[in-house]
Every structure is written in C-alpha cells, then in structure tokens.
C-alpha cells in the first residue's frame, strides 16, 4: 500500500483528473462491487487513500456480504447499527442553568446518506490489499429486520446478537438471537436514542462544573457571581463538591431548603413533643 499522504489535500476536481494510487484501488473495489450486485449499490464515498464507505439497498444486505467475500474481503471486523434520531433527552454537556432550547429532532444521516432512522453498518478488511470498507444499509422504520450475515461470516453471529439486543433490529436467518448482556425479559433497547440513560436522569453530571470559562471570557465574568449558584433549580456548586466528598446525598438544591423548613417546624412544635423532635434531630444530624 502506498504510504499515507495526509499532507496532500486535493479538492474534488483535482482528485478526478489526477487520481492517487490509493484512490484507484478503492474505485476498483467499488466498480467490482457494482458488477456483482448491480443497482443495489446506492451510494459510495471515498476518503482518498484512507477509507471507503458504501451504502447498499436493504434487500441486498446479505448479498453484499457474499459478494465482498468473493471480492477478497475475508476479514470480518464488526457489525452494528446507528440510531440517527437525536436524543430527546439532550446531551451531557447541557448547562442546567441555561433554559433548554427545544431539541431539533430532524433525523440527519451521516456519510453516504440514508432515508431511515436506523441503519446497520459493518466493516470488512481485505488482508492482502490492506484496505477496509464500511458497508451501510437502511433499516425500514416499520419493519426493522435485515438479513443475517452469518451465512457469509460466522463471526457476525455475536455481533448480530448484540445489535438485536441494543437496537431491536431483527436478523433473518440468524441461528440464535438471544440476549448477550441483559436478562431475557428486559424491556427496551438501551442504545436507541429514546432509551433514557437513567443515571443522568436522577443526578446531573457533576463534570459540568469542571468546564472553565474561555480565557478571554474569564476576565469579563470575574466580578460577576458564579452562574451556577442561582436560586431556581440550578446546581449548587458547593453542594456538588460536598456531595462528591461524602457521597451521602445527591446534590439536590432543595435539600438545604428542606432542612431549613424542618428546623423551622421543630422550633414551632418544640413545646408539644420533645422526644419526637429529639429523634428527628438525631436522624438529620
């Protein structure tokens, strides 16, 4: 294989007229694949001298595997899926002090495009020519089933089991689609974007407070109060630090007010039931 030439950046027009050796290799692979599966090859994208991605029709998913195996791609690397829907729960870097903007839920596929929310993708390598290929295919929204690759690559067995468990995609012709990780009666498919990450739901990510301001902004906000210590439902920085210190309670800003209210109650009812108040105080201390 020709040495990687990352420094050479050629625009598309130049690449067409003056094809690099690696490009010729990958273009040859695409031509070869087109000869084998015909119109089922929908789209391809070549990253010069680095990578090759193709998208094939869903019906030709298994056929593509057989064709590529004949074309010399004997090494099975992995098979998985992508859920292109943006997460309705937002991402980890959301600042809790800023009011959440409505999330743009338009589904936008990546390299080589696509039309459906779910896509399966797999990676094969040609060990003689030292070239890898990523194969993608759409998975119909109403019928999330594709053909199994186990007929061509025995190693796809576990990968398809994992994919079935994590994304809920079925594989026609797979010998045994049992769960690998989760109990058999588990409901839901964890790697789908609409499956909530419960750890994040119950406790805001403490890593948020680690993000320092940019140096040019640091001077401006030096005199202002910290943005993270306001009153309405935000994270209290001190409370977070304390909570990570003793790990006893989640950094709930309401906790401090609740304690204050409780002590207030004690003060008013102090004459009525001394013993019970004493117990209460013990519990809280």
């Amino acid at each position: 294989m020709a040495p990687l030439s990352d420094t050479e950046t050629t625009d598309d027009a130049a690449a067409e007229t003056q094809a690099l050796p690696g490009d010729g290799l990958r273009e040859g692979i695409v031509d070869d694949l087109r000869a084998r599966i015909g119109d089922a090859l929908i789209e391809f994208e070549i990253d010069p001298n680095t990578d090759l991605t193709v998208r094939v029709a869903t019906d030709a998913w298994a056929e593509t595997a057989a064709a590529l195996k004949l074309a010399g791609f004997s090494f099975f690397s992995f098979l998985s899926a992508i859920d292109w829907m943006p997460s309705p729960y937002g991402k980890g870097e959301d600042d809790p002090t800023v009011e959440k903007e409505p999330i743009d839920m338009t589904i936008k596929q990546g390299v080589c495009g696509g039309e459906t929310r779910m896509q399966v993708f797999a990676r094969l390598t040609d060990l003689d020519r030292h070239v890898g290929i990523t194969i993608k295919a759409d998975v119909a929204d109403d019928h999330q089933v594709v053909d199994s690759w186990t007929g061509s690559y025995a190693g796809a067995n576990w990968h398809e089991r994992e994919c079935h468990e994590m994304f809920g995609i079925g594989f026609n012709g797979h010998p045994d689609l049992r769960n690998m990780y989760l109990p058999g009666d588990f409901e839901g498919h964890p790697l789908k974007k609409d499956f909530p990450l419960l750890a994040r739901m119950v406790k805001p990510w403490p890593g948020i407070v680690d993000v320092e301001p940019m140096p040019e902004k640091a001077e401006e906000i030096k005199d202002e109060p910290l943005p993270l210590t306001d009153e309405d439902g935000a994270i209290d920085v001190d409370a977070t630090v304390e909570a990570t210190g003793d790990d006893a309670s989640p950094p709930d800003p309401d906790a401090t007010t609740a304690v204050a209210a409780a002590t207030g109650d004690e003060a008013t009812h102090v004459g009525e039931a001394d013993e019970s108040d004493g117990e209460k105080a013990d519990d809280e201390s």
């Binding site: 004997s74 992995f78 991402k91 980890g92 060990l127 030292h130 990523t134 190693g155 964890p190 990450l197």
Partner: protein, 390 residues
C-alpha cells in the same frame, strides 16, 4: 488463502475421528459442566457452559455480559476529552493502548496531527503497555498448567514496566494521558535511561520464559496440536492480533495501516506461525514481546525535540463526520467508529474490541476437545473480560 500444514491436517483428521466416535461409540449420558463465572482460569467473570460426553465437549457456549458497563451509551453523554477516562477501562492491562485509536479518530475528524515528538512518545508508551499486558499473559500461561515459577518472574518484571508508565503518566493502570492533539505532559527527567535499562531486562525475561516454559515437554504436549484454527476460519470470525498471525496470516496493523504513529521508524519483524494451535498463539506473543522491546529501544534513541501538543481550541468541538481508526493493540485490532455531529461529545461510538471477536470463536474451537484442553485453549486465545463486555 494459506494452505493447511501437515500438523493442521492431522489435527483435522483427529477431530473428525473424534466426532465420529462420539456418534458411534458408547451411548453415554451427557452432562453439562459450568465453568465460571468464578473460575480462576477465566481472568474475570466469563462463564462457559459445556455439554460433555464423557471427557469430550459436544457443545460449548461462553456466556459473556457479567461485566457490561455500557460504554457505548455513556460516550454519548460525555465530551470528547472525557471519553478517554471511560475507554481506559476496556482492556485494563494495556490501558494506554485503548486511548490511542480513539484520540486518532478524533484527530482525523478535526484534521489535526500530533507533533512528531508526541507521536514517538505515544508509540513508546503504546509498546510499553503491550509489554506490560503480554508479559502478564506469559506468566499466567504457566499457572493454567500448574507451573508457578513463570508467574513470579512475570509479576517481578512487569512491575518495572508499570513503574515506568506510572512515572511518565501518573497512573499505573489507567494513565488517561493521551490528549487530542498531543500528550498531557512531557517525559520526566531520566526516564529514557531508566526505560532503556528496564526494557533490556524484559528481553532477558523473554529468554528466561522461553527456556522455562516453551521448552518444557509437558507444556508442549498440552499445547501442540490443540485447538487448531485454520486461517480462513480465523478471518471469518475476525480473530485479530497474535491469534490471527498464529494461523499463518501475515497481517499487522502496525505495519500495514500505520495511522500516524512512529512504528515505521523502527526496524522490527511481524512474526507468523503456520500451525494455528494453542502453542503457536503463545509463541507468537512471546516473540511479539521481544519485538516490542526492540521497537522501544530504537525509538528511545530517536525522540525528536519539539512541542508535545499541537494548537487545539480550549473547548474541543469535533466537526461533523465519521471516522474509523483501529490499531494493533495487545489483544488485537481495537478500533473506534466515531460519529460526530459537531458537538462537544460524540453522537455515536462503536467500540470494536479484539476480545469480543476472539472469544466468539470458542463454540467452534471447543467442539470435540477434552475437558482439560478447554482451559489451555481459552488461555491461549487470551481475552480480557472488560474487552469482551465493554
């Protein structure tokens, strides 16, 4: 395709005969044997369910998932620099090597490159983590067969390597040292001389181990001709690393796909073995440890001067795109398929870990073997539980 060697053919015939005997000979009542999840030979919590007929395995199935931590989901709510903390814990014996392909994938999307000094230091630390990882394997290998001395030698010499990694990065097991665009720190003073001395010692350890273990008759009779995996089966299952090269396939990502690290600056050799049996897999790993020592010694002499970090924004946003980068980790091909939507964190990360594929072959390879061979075959395939479950 590689032709079968004579040994492979003989072993094939033997396994065919064993299959035939199972059907024709004594009609015995089968039993199911549960190995694990606490069996000491499993390096963690893998469980093997084996259906036996007498002393032979009729059917075996590993049951993974006792250590699944959901890293692929967690990466979706972390920022790019925070992800390295997670992926350190995939293959915990060679942690630094886990970080490198992810960082390279992020760098590829950002279209930046680490400075030459950082690349060479990365390669050195990468190879040191391979030495730390595989030397434990070589020591542990003896324990699986009742030989305890190699384990002591391995733990003694591996300790020096871990000390080196600790003094350079600050972490013995989880360095978290690689950064997008370079490295966290430069090497400490005196580290190069110290490393040269330790790596020379490690070459001695390899020689000792070869004499003690690999030349041992019991070891050879337990290993040779056992668990043969032909090349085409290994490729189909996606076996990588030493497991693939032990089946005669000459493929090493360090040589064949050098993704911007400094392996091409050293003179070293990719070892292969035609047999494809347990012994070949272990022997390849021994040779690779030696080659790693050679790479480190050569690279230590040619660390270029210069910065260790290229200019990156203070808050890292990775441009929209997809990249797959894989490197030859201690256990095999480790790759990350990173999908970014231009945010602070990745949109999706598919972690291609070596052990997942390496262990998925066990139902195929354990069919027809005798019960004690289960342990040696699993040991020679060499897996780390965190690398299977992720």
């Amino acid at each position: 395709m590689t032709e079968l060697s004579e040994r492979q053919q003989l072993s094939y015939i033997a396994s065919q005969a064993a299959d035939a005997r199972l059907n024709v000979e004594l009609e015995t009542e089968g039993m199911t044997l549960n190995i694990g999840p606490q069996h000491p030979a499993t390096h963690g919590t893998l469980r093997i369910i084996a259906r036996l007929d007498g002393e032979q395995v009729v059917w075996a199935e590993p049951s993974a998932g006792y250590m699944h931590r959901g890293y692929e989901k967690l990466t979706e709510v972390r920022t790019f620099p925070q992800v390295t903390t997670l992926i350190n814990r995939i293959d915990w014996l060679g942690s630094f090597a886990n970080e490198v392909p992810f960082i390279l994938a992020a760098e590829k999307l950002m279209e930046i490159e680490a400075p030459p000094r950082a690349q060479v230091i990365r390669t050195i630390l990468f190879e040191l983590s391979r030495i730390a990882n595989v030397s434990l394997f070589l020591g542990d290998l003896g324990v699986q067969m009742g030989a305890t001395t190699p384990a002591f030698l391995a733990f003694r010499d591996r300790e020096y390597v871990l000390n080196l990694i600790e003094s350079a990065t600050g972490g013995r097991f989880h360095p978290n040292f690689d950064r997008i665009g370079g490295l966290k720190d430069d090497l400490p003073k005196g580290w190069i001389n110290e490393t040269t001395a330790v790596v020379k010692r490690l070459i001695g350890f390899c020689d000792e181990n070869e004499d003690l273990l690999f030349g041992n008759e019991i070891f050879q009779s337990r290993m040779r001709g056992i668990g043969v995996i032909p090349a085409h089966v290994a490729e189909e299952y996606g076996l990588s690393g030493a497991n693939l090269r032990a089946s005669g396939v000459d493929y090493d990502l360090r040589r064949d796909n050098p993704v911007g690290l400094a392996w091409d600056k050293a003179d070293w050799k990719v070892w292969t073995h035609p047999d494809g049996d347990s012994w070949a897999r272990c022997w390849i790993r021994l040779q690779e440890t030696r080659e790693s020592c050679k790479i480190v010694l050569q690279l230590l002499e040619q660390i270029p001067a210069g910065p260790i970090m290229t200019k990156v924004p203070r808050i890292i946003k990775v441009p929209e795109g997809e990249a797959y980068v894989s490197t030859e980790n201690p256990l095999g091909e480790m790759g990350y398929y990173v999908v970014s939507k231009g945010d602070l964190g990745p949109f999706r990360v598919k972690i291609r870990s070596a052990s997942f594929n390496n262990i998925s072959i066990t139902p195929w390879v354990l069919k027809g073997v005798y019960v004690p061979d289960i342990i040696t075959i699993l040991a020679s395939l060499y897996f780390i539980l965190g690398d299977i479950d992720r």
